[in-house]
Amino acid sequence: MTSPSERDALQLKFRDPERGKALVEKLAHLTESLGRSPVAVMHVCGSHEQAIARFGLRHVFPKALDVIMGPGCPVCITDVPEVDEGVALAQQGVRVATYGDMLKVPGSAGSLADARAGGAKVDIVYSVSQAVELAQKTNEEIVFFATGFETTAVATAAEILRGPPPNFSVLSAHKYIPPVMEIVAEMPDTRVEGFLAAGHAATITGWGVFEAFVERHHLPVVVAGFEPLDVLAGLVRLVELIHDKTPKVDNMYPRCVSREGNVVAQQQLWQVFRPLGGRWRGIAHVPNGNLRLRDEWAHLDARRRFHIDLARLWTFAPPTLVQHCICGDIMAGLKSPTDCSLFGKECLPDTPVGACMVSSEGTCKIWHQYGGHPELTRAVEVNP
């Protein structure tokens, strides 16, 4: 058992500047020893990008090391037709409950926020449990628009297994991370030489799930946590593995991730969901990348309970700015937010054009919130 002071001490250890500096030095040394530039690695988690931005880590990364954020933001990769389904249901008069960061995500003809402004009933919940409680308090039909990776899918699964009230159903847009890493690793233009795997998703799946991936693609995978030292240590280990040309899985987050993962959660996940191929916004068709309700839960599946009238959405012209959005290339690691002509201009957190500017886990939103790169670049140019 840990006392509060011990906990603080432990937390400080994960933010200890001295140890951080030593890791930064080591990272620089290792990257230099690779003898080429740039060397690109990819992380697949919004929480990693937040840690990198919040603690200013990108500033201390070696110049030769490109740390790219891949498709790790669940809001960003929720596909347009999935958002459309939620919007259509809301406009049909069904009460839709969803996570707060889904509200402003643009579909082909507006977002849930737009639907709400137009009079539709859209509730923001922190947890699927709140959506169930909402259903218990009313006779209205409540559809939980379920988004997120395996970490949130297990919560949805747990509520379904508990037996929600009959007026509750689920519109699942849940996604499963391991298959998308296969896609990104095989993209023709990819420069990615190694992956930093998301510690929280791996808490569920276990790090063993990446072993077959490493064998197939000969790229190292390091599971890392979310404190600044976790990220730095994960990168050090990853560059070390690239340097040694020994593709393997390494776990730098043993306080949360084991080889087999959370077996209890996995059982519940696969009892409720089945993997199905489908599009991830801006990325590609991802085989087995979507999680849909199994047939035995058909009575809780909003897609089967309701006729979702998508046609009624298309009385609006689609916004033309969307055609300039490069979210997909950003999530594939091919471009940065600063390469986008809309970033910080037409596309802002209050008026997002692309999904990457919506969520607190989206690359563009994070870069914008923490100052982004344009100001830094300009400052350097003016005062060399």
Binding site: V154, T203, L229
Partner: protein, 103 residues
Amino acid sequence: MCLGVPGKVLEVDGLVASVDFWGVRKQVRLDVVDAPVAPGDYVLNHVGFAIRRIPAEEGLATLKLYHDLLRKQGEEDDLMAADVRAEIEAAGPGWWRDCDKPL
């Protein structure tokens, strides 16, 4: 929505725990956590569900990993690493030795 937050368990009532997140008290469900949770434990919370119990000694195990990572540099002339090692050693008895179990 998928940001994970660690918190300290204050009370457990069946499948619901009352958890302190930096002074904010919240109910967290224990349906999917894979180990028995008791007051005083830490849990990793995702959207109101604990997905992992974090034993304190495993936090130390991670720190030991970083320690080894730095030590492996094997460059005795690297003063920075030496300083960090000294600081780690100075962190108190048992800080590292307690977690020498295999990872």
